[in-house]
Amino acid sequence: MEMFVLSFTIFVLALFVGVELINKVPPTLHTPLMSGTNAISGIVVVGAIISAGSGGMDPTLASILGFIAVTLATINIVAGFLVTDRMLNMFKRKDS
């Protein structure tokens, strides 16, 4: 239970950090912001890796779900970061 309270504290504090931070992002960059946050929400890949890798060689329902999760989270990470980079470079080249 103590662990839960600690985690919940972190959750609430991180929400406040997020609100403060994201309020400063200009509307021009809102689309790349969304695809960028898509990419970092792929962090569930750390849970997916443990699910997919802890089953040994015999495929169980749990390890199959883990494999699906790794695939989905990797799509999120790779597509998210690449497409964000592509968009941001369109904005950047106007500086020079």
Partner: protein, 465 residues
């Protein structure tokens, strides 16, 4: 080792925060994105070192498959289709959280553990939010693509949603109270939550999809945070809540720009009733003989003498893929000494910032993109304001007619410009389903046609002048 892995997750979370901080300015945003990607790499390496990981075949296969699909998606998606891509990625993230939670629970049950109530709640939250995000996003993508129309049987969907919600609550209470339940109950919960996701998004009109996409973005983050509670991984909790906060803020921005509350968007369908009372006939009467038409040549003549030109892009610009033609026209006008600016309404297009990305793709400098609050006071100075495929966001009824369903919605006040030229394929109503008084104003002209074709014709005509 355990401490090292957890510190790695914390490092990743810090990288994500710094990455988003980089996104507060266009000049530092690319670097910010790279910092975030580095954080992700650190987290993945740390997870691979986890003591529970004993076989790598499934992990590597999943990563290769996911990376291939991801690269293909990122390369092949047009900037006009960004809303669909972001909505798809929301759903994929939700699906990943759902799978991780279900898999972790199955492993715990197989190992003979009895889950605590708190842990069961975390599993439940992760599965519910993940599943709703998954199917809700699929419906949103189909609506954005126009493959799925707006439902004529709203009541039926609302009934289905309420029923599945009630069933989810019952099954959820059972799940938490019983601790170690049969996997069948978990399966039923997943199925119910998937149905709930469809039922929640299906009755919402296609016009409100920008809000829905932003909200699902928040859900995908919150699902990740819930997964963090399941795994007792604070790095995941921090990251998930960052994404959740981002989605919630964007949702609030979009709602404010439409002057509607979130519950109204999600459950109201306020515009639905207005569109049903025979708009076609009303429109004929409304516009009869009052709309003045012009051609691309007339527009070219007008622009030839203009010193201050304002371009107002809307979803029609994205549909016509006219961004590069617009840039060409703007360069031609600037070459003749005119000042060209772009007025961007917060809900123009189908997602926050959609127009900005399109115009950036055409290499239009972002300091020429003005938001609503900046440009409205300068509106009377504009010699010509050209509305390209926008409708409701320039409807003066929003500020002048208290009886209008969109009254109170902040608009771009183009009717205060010296001349307004509306480029539009037809007089048909916008998303709100109401006629637009702007088209009948004395200072307003309409050029009928596809945005791209009209802009190209105009550029050609100006060059010939």
């Amino acid at each position: 080792m355990f401490a090292l892995i957890n510190i790695s997750y914390l490092t990743a979370a810090v990288c994500f925060i710094l990455g988003i901080k980089g996104m507060t300015r266009p000049s530092t945003a690319v670097r910010g994105n790279l910092i975030a990607a580095t954080g992700m790499l650190i987290a993945v390496v740390a997870a691979l070192l986890h003591h529970a990981v004993i076989s790598y075949a499934g992990i590597i296969a999943g990563m290769l498959l996911g990376a291939a699909i991801g690269i293909w998606l990122a390369r092949s998606t047009e900037t006009t289709a960004m809303p669909e891509l972001v909505a798809s990625l929301n759903g994929i993230g939700g699906g990943a959280s759902l799978s991780v939670a279900a898999s972790t629970w199955l492993n715990a049950i197989a190992a003979g553990e009895t889950p605590t109530a708190g842990w069961s709640i975390a599993i439940l939250a992760s599965i519910l939010i993940g599943a709703v995000t998954l199917t809700g996003s699929i419906v949103a993508v189909l609506k954005l693509k126009g493959r799925l129309g707006d439902s004529s049987r709203k009541r039926l969907w609302q009934f289905a949603t309420a029923t599945s919600l009630a069933a989810v609550v019952v099954a959820g209470v059972l799940f938490i109270a019983q601790g170690a339940v049969s996997p069948l109950i978990l399966g039923a919960l997943v199925a119910l939550a998937l149905l709930l996701g469809v039922g929640l998004v299906q009755p919402i009109g296609g016009a409100d999809m920008p809000v829905v996409v932003a909200l699902l973005n928040a859900y995908s983050g919150l699902a990740g945070a819930a997964t963090g509670f399941v795994l007792e991984n604070q790095g995941l909790i921090i990251t998930g809540s960052l994404v959740g906060a981002s989605g919630l803020i964007l949702t609030a921005v979009m709602c404010k720009a439409m002057n509607r509350s979130l519950p109204n968007v999600l459950f109201g369908g306020a515009f639905g009733g207005q569109a049903d009372d025979g708009p076609a006939q009303n429109e004929d009467e409304f516009y009869a003989g009052k709309v003045k038409y012009a051609t691309a040549d007339d527009l070219a003549m007008m622009l030839d003498g203009a010193r201050n030109v304002l371009l107002v892009p809307g979803y029609g610009l994205a549909v016509a893929q006219a961004q590069h033609s617009v840039k060409e026209l703007a360069s031609e006008l600037e070459g003749r000494g005119a000042a060209v600016n772009y007025a961007i309404h917060p809900v123009a297009g189908r997602m926050p910032g959609h127009m900005n990305v399109l115009l950036a793709e055409a290499e239009i400098p972002y300091d020429q993109l003005k938001d609503m609050d900046t440009i409205n006071p300068e509106m009377p100075q504009a010699d010509v304001a050209i509305v390209l495929g926008a409708n409701d966001v320039v409807n003066p009824a929003a500020s002048e007619e208290p009886s209008s369903p969109i009254y109170g919605m902040p608009i771009l006040e183009v009717h205060r410009a010296k001349t307004v030229v509306v480029v539009k394929r037809s007089l048909s109503a916008g998303f709100a389903g109401i006629p637009n008084g702007l088209f009948t104003r004395d200072n307003s002209l309409m050029v009928k046609g596809d945005a791209k074709a009209v802009v190209q014709d105009t550029t050609r005509a100006i060059k010939e002048l």
